[in-house]
Symmetry: C2
Subunit: 146 residues, 2 copies
Amino acid sequence: MTVMKPASHHQNRPAKPDGLLRNAGLRPTRQRKALAQLLFAQGDRHVTAETLYDEALAAGYHVSLATIYNTLHQFSDAGLLRVIAIDTSKTYFDTNTGDHHHFFIEETNEIVDMPDGYIRVENLPEPPQGMEISRVDVIVRVRSPL
Amino acid sequence: MTVMKPASHHQNRPAKPDGLLRNAGLRPTRQRKALAQLLFAQGDRHVTAETLYDEALAAGYHVSLATIYNTLHQFSDAGLLRVIAIDTSKTYFDTNTGDHHHFFIEETNEIVDMPDGYIRVENLPEPPQGMEISRVDVIVRVRSPL
DNA sequence: GTGTTTGCAAAGTGTTTGCAATTTA
DNA sequence: TAAATTGCAAACACTTTGCAAACAC
């Protein structure tokens, strides 16, 4: 069976990210448009501030690292991105904000989406007193055999 | 000469941690004994370097923060502790090295063990080409209702 | 024009490391 | 005594922040 990338839950993004940004309440500045382009024009992606920074440079955009950090957080707050807590040393951002889980490749620190429809968590206990579940994250750590 | 695994994460630890440390191939120094005492004499615990440091001070032990970090890693390498990646900003260590999962209370950054026997992950997809699963982590994030 | 956003450099936070002094076996 | 361990301070990696200059509307 072929492992496919999950069909993205989001609708077709506009070719120009202006609408996306405006809908999120963010001014479509040059930097935000460039980063939105990099993040959302391709399929689902996992980036860190550093990888996005390098990518922006390689694509010929001038965006400072501070702005990358600020923008990633603004996008997350606006619901365009989601933070993955998987590695204590770096913050990963996922362009797929839908319900899905991840493989984490230990050797390379790579994150891979799990196809939608897989993973079912059964027999959850009651959350602690007075708490409600906000999300269930499943991380399947994988490595090459010894 | 093999480094032995801890007897079990659920059995009572020896009152004196010397044996525990020796079995792990670590010299029972004053600092390690103090930290092992704090970590393993009570039930299952979740600590950060900082919380353990404060606790050691409060208990009248004098252990430098650098030694706390070194010791937490030595204990982890020896299989006495396990790292939980749950929060990008801090490293949490769990004294329960057995198979179990966690609640994470978002307001307080508190980690709570899930009772054993709960949680079953069904319908795992094939790991990526040439990879094998090393561990499956489930984190149930909870918060108080709005 | 006015309020927002950017970029730089500095500061902040959690963690690791080099090395002399100390401790353990 | 030899080898392992500690503690300090400095170094580190990642991230956040203050503020003047640039930009969007």
